[in-house]
């Protein structure tokens, strides 16, 4: 009897483990991955306009017919991405997704200074490398006669190091104050951006197509 109970318990636990494993692994195996479907649009680092609503639904799974969509695929590891577009209608939005179609960043025209899309994306590791060398390291000792003892400055505490890093970042921020470019630092390699422009009426199609054709994703 106890052997039977033991077998049942083992089966239950095994079943639960397999279930949990399947649920967690599923996003990687889904054959309907949006990332894969978007490859058919064309080259990376280019905004591809989606011509009509049924195509948008087929590619994205769900779409608002009141919006005109463009997609750009890219890999941040190969370098920063600049996204730019002129102003168009009363609403636009850019959402950045990772390979698993999870949202990692969003920006709409409300955050822009003049209705222009002006966004720069950096990979987290690259940005760190850029900022850190500007901090002078007081712990670095000048070459001296090794026989002559010199007073050694006390090592930086974590708080002091953090302060220096903040100062460096602030210096950089001030340098960019007049530049409306929005910068985002993302921790992702493969990603895609969905840029959508609101289409109040078909009369706006000309303006929207214009803005989309001038939109850059480089």
């Amino acid at each position: 009897m106890t052997t039977l109970i033991r077998y049942i318990l083992v089966s239950l636990v095994l079943g639960a483990l397999i279930h949990i494993g399947a649920v967690i692994a599923l996003p990687n195996f889904a054959d309907q991955k949006v990332w894969n479907r978007l490859a058919q649009l064309g080259d990376n680092r280019e905004f591809h306009l989606i011509g009509d609503h049924p195509t948008a639904v087929r590619l994205l799974g769900t779409a608002d017919p009141a919006m005109v969509y463009a997609i750009c695929r890219f890999n941040l590891k190969t370098g920063p991405v600049t996204m730019a577009a002129p102003p168009s209608t009363s609403f636009w939005n850019v959402t950045i997704f990772n390979e698993n179609a999870e949202m990692i960043y969003n920006l709409h025209d409300g955050a822009s200074r003049n209705g222009e899309l002006d966004l720069e994306l950096y990979h987290l590791s690259k940005k760190r490398q850029e900022v850190l060398p500007t901090i002078e390291d007081p712990n670095r000792l000048a070459p001296v006669d090794p026989l002559t003892p010199l007073p050694v400055p006390p090592p930086l505490t974590d708080a002091q190091r953090a302060d220096l890093l903040e100062e460096a970042i602030e210096r950089e921020r001030l340098a960019r104050e007049d530049d409306p470019t929005i910068e985002a630092i993302l921790d992702v390699d493969k990603a895609f951006a969905i840029y959508k422009i609101f289409r109040p009426l078909s009369a706006y199609d000309g303006i929207i197509i214009d803005a989309m054709s001038q939109a850059r994703c480089e």
């Binding site: 279930h19 949990i20 399947a22 649920v23 967690i24 599923l26 996003p27 889904a30 309907q32 991955k33 949006v34 479907r37 009509d52 609503h53 049924p54 639904v57 994205l60 799974g61 769900t62 608002d64 017919p65 009141a66 919006m67 009363s90 609403f91 939005n93 959402t95 997704f97 990772n98 698993n100 179609a101 999870e102 949202m103 990692i104 969003n106 920006l107 709409h108 409300g110 969905i194 609101f198 109040p200 009426l201």
Partner: protein, 166 residues
């Protein structure tokens, strides 16, 4: 398989409408994540807005293109909203008509009345097709504080009443 059971996780009921405030973000629970991966859809981030979906009228019956419906009430606030109908069965004509906050006419008391039907109707009218057996209404509210924690009992979204069927 349990993952087919429908999007019952992390949904919030707002009257007749269902909202998915945490859909598609990396913090979502693994069940929602797996289900979204399987469906292969992208969703709205909370900064962008909120999507509300209604699948039934006030009697609980599914929405069909053979009936005329009246939506009335107040639309939750946001900079822009769009109302669309989506056919939910395969091989149905793609519905691509829409109404937006830009072009609707409001009633005297600041509330909204919209007619959804296959036949043209005066006032705010969202066309659907007679051939559409089943559809859902999607109300997308863009740039709204409701998307990040503003959804609670005080929000009263529109109701959907069935008026007449063919």
């Amino acid at each position: 398989m349990t993952l087919e059971r429908g999007l019952q996780f992390n949904t919030v009921d707002v009257g007749l409408w269902e909202a998915w405030p945490v859909a598609g973000e990396p913090t979502a629970d693994p069940y929602s994540k797996a289900l979204f991966a399987r469906i292969g859809s992208v969703w709205m981030s909370s900064t962008e807005g909120l999507a509300l979906v209604a699948k039934t009228d006030t009697d609980g019956a599914g929405l069909t293109g053979q009936c005329r419906y009246r939506i009335s009430g107040v639309v939750p606030r946001g900079r822009l909203w769009t109302l669309t109908a989506t056919a939910t069965e395969p091989r149905q004509p793609e519905l691509d008509s829409y109404l937006t906050s830009d072009d609707v006419i409001w009633d005297e008391d600041q509330s909204l009345t919209v007619t959804i039907s296959a036949r043209v109707f005066p006032g705010n009218w969202l066309p659907v097709s007679e051939e559409t057996n089943r559809f859902e209404l999607v109300l997308r509210i863009y740039d709204t504080p409701l998307a990040s924690g503003g959804l609670d009992d005080t929000v009263r979204p529109p109701v959907i009443e069935r008026e007449v069927c063919l």
